[in-house]
Amino acid sequence: MAEKTMRDAINEALHQAMAADDSVFVIGEDVAGCNGAPGETGTVGGVFGVTSGLYQAFGPDRCIDTPISESAIVGAASGAALMGMRPVAEIMFADFIGVCMDQIVNQMGKFRYMFGGKSRCPAVIRFAAGGGFSAAGQHSQSMYQVMTSFPGLKVVIPSNAYDAKGLMLQAIQDDDPVLFFEPKVLYQEACEVPDEMYTIPFGEASFLREGDDCTVVAFGQMVPKAAQAIDALEAEGISCDLIDPRTSSPLDTNAILESVEATGRLVVVDEAPPRCGLTADIAALAADKAFSSLKGPIKQVCAPHSPTPFSPELEASYIPDSSKIIAAIKGTMA
């Protein structure tokens, strides 16, 4: 077992899944790269490098470049999936859901239901998500909270390389459409990742810290920040559960509720703005189902109700950091 970055872990999952099953292919803008150009085709492997080497390993029929036409890309994936393929499409930035939402939400996500259960659409759509790159308002959104609200879609948000590989392999073998959101600031973060194939089931949260005083639920790039906050609080004698749901749909409600029942307190952390997001979703779950256990207010830590600013300083104060998480944990005890 070796240390691998999240980028490499996902890349490895794609290589292995494509080698194992020839119905798997990748499609998207520059997932191969340099098509039609004088230079060598396949030398890009996606703008974040996640699909690198797939063109060389599997050829042009299974690593497919496209024009800038996100609706057509999603449709190409979902249509192929309806016919029995297992496509993995890349939509570069999650913000670009704006130009292909119908194909995701009203088509791919609803086929099975509208067709009376008589279809399967095992397509995976990958996105680089979230802030931290000074990429401003149109290249920094997390979007997974919005997609979570649409029945028929599964929504995955890995927070580390190990999970990313196992969740990607699960996504590809899953028979339902899966949206896979890769927090782009985590691409270079590394941890131990097994070389062999393994899957992580959807709807099973991971417990990253165990404690008595408060339950902290965090998503994506907020997971390491929450861990930092919790570790810092240890010195003050405060100990917390840290839960990374890993998939927001399905959501491991049992894990969350059991923890809240034990700690009596809840903080939910996400980098998206506050309205109708995952922090509210999980807070509301506990305010209903774990009400009698609650010892203090449920706190949400998230971005303010504004688009993502460009300026590095502004973005740094926009995206929640561990000090805000610490304040929230203390806030549940006030």
């Binding site: 036409s69 979902s78 259960g117 008589k118 279809s119």
Partner: protein, 326 residues
């Protein structure tokens, strides 16, 4: 591509089945028996049948809001469709989809579609699957004269050319998108030329004439099947009803509907051609008519008697497997 008598009888029966399905649906909607939004295909039958006669179950089609005709022509179970319109749990989609979402993936029917131009991107995917598997199958998307102005339709056409997939884009020009005429909504003078400018051949057809559509479709589908990339069919046609059932049709010229029913009826045209060539007698066609009427009548009887869905079915079939949680 020559049609023997059996083929001709099947094609006629299909067109007649669509016609009677739609006319009966119209009646039953007016009677308050069928809920929701329903868009009837009456008058356009030759288009669906002229295309689908070239297809097998392994070829895919994806339809529009006006989907009954395409689905029937591609082999959807007619009683199952009628039950679906009735919202029965025995319907083709268990009452979950209704008129705008009739589908049967096993028959290569990737669904009617409530979103204008929702289908063309998906057809590119189905065609891509065929290309990757090199199985000689094709994928057809149907679009109207209004649908072609939606961005997704353009994207699909370009992507199909780029990927050289066996997709066939069928444009049925019935001159109206809802209440708006093509002369307004399509800015250029020549929609066929605008389509061809994307880089594939488009074959023209008279959508009131089964033989004309069949021939054009044959060329387009052969082009796609043989690995030459996408192709198009452009058919002029007319719908005999309003955009939806209940449409007051203020946009029509006086006498327009009468003229359409008189001079652009594919069933009449088919009968006239048969009378000319003598391939099928009027009596044989009458017999088909009678059989079709009986099938439709029985399908309505069955639909009325069919099981109604129960509340617990609401949450079924959202996912294949949503895990233990939630």
């Amino acid at each position: 591509m020559s049609l023997d008598k059996e083929d001709l009888l099947r094609a006629y029966r299909m067109m007649k089945t669509i016609r009677e399905f739609e006319e009966r649906a119209h009646t039953e909607i007016m009677n308050g028996q069928i809920a929701g939004f329903t868009h009837l295909y009456t008058g356009q039958e030759a288009n669906a049948v002229g295309i689908c006669e070239h297809l097998s179950d392994e070829d895919a089609i994806i339809s529009t809001h006006r989907g009954h005709g395409h689905c029937i022509a591609k082999g959807a179970d007619v009683p199952g469709m009628m039950k679906e319109l009735w919202g029965s749990s025995e319907g083709l989609c268990k009452g979950k989809g209704g008129s705008m979402h009739v589908a049967d993936v096993d028959k290569g029917i990737l669904g009617a579609n409530g979103i204008v131009a929702g289908g063309p991107p998906i057809s590119v995917g189905a065609a891509l699957a065929a290309k990757i598997r090199k199985n000689g199958k094709v994928a057809i998307s149907f679009s109207g004269d209004g649908s072609v102005n939606q961005g997704t339709c353009f994207e699909a056409m370009n992507l199909a050319v780029v990927l050289e997939v066996p997709a066939v884009f069928v444009i049925e020009n019935n001159y109206y998108s809802e209440h708006t005429n093509i002369s307004y909504a399509v800015g250029c003078d020549d929609l066929k030329a605008r389509t061809e400018a994307f880089g594939f051949p488009v074959f023209e057809a008279d959508g009131a004439d089964f033989f004309s559509v069949y021939e054009a479709a044959g060329k387009a589908i052969e082009h796609a099947r043989s690995g030459k990339g996408p192709a198009g069919v452009f058919a002029e046609t007319g719908r005999f009803h309003g955009h939806f059932v209940g449409d007051p049709q203020y946009y029509r010229a006086e006498g327009e509907l009468e003229d359409l029913r008189e001079n652009s009826d594919c069933l009449k045209n088919f009968r006239a051609r048969m009378a000319e060539t003598g391939e099928i007698s009027a009596e044989e066609l009458d017999a088909v008519d009678a059989e079709v009427m009986a099938v439709i009548e029985q399908s309505v009887v069955d639909a009325k008697a069919a099981a109604r869905p129960t509340p617990e079915q609401v949450t079924a079939d959202v996912y294949i497997n949503y895990g233990a949680a939630s």
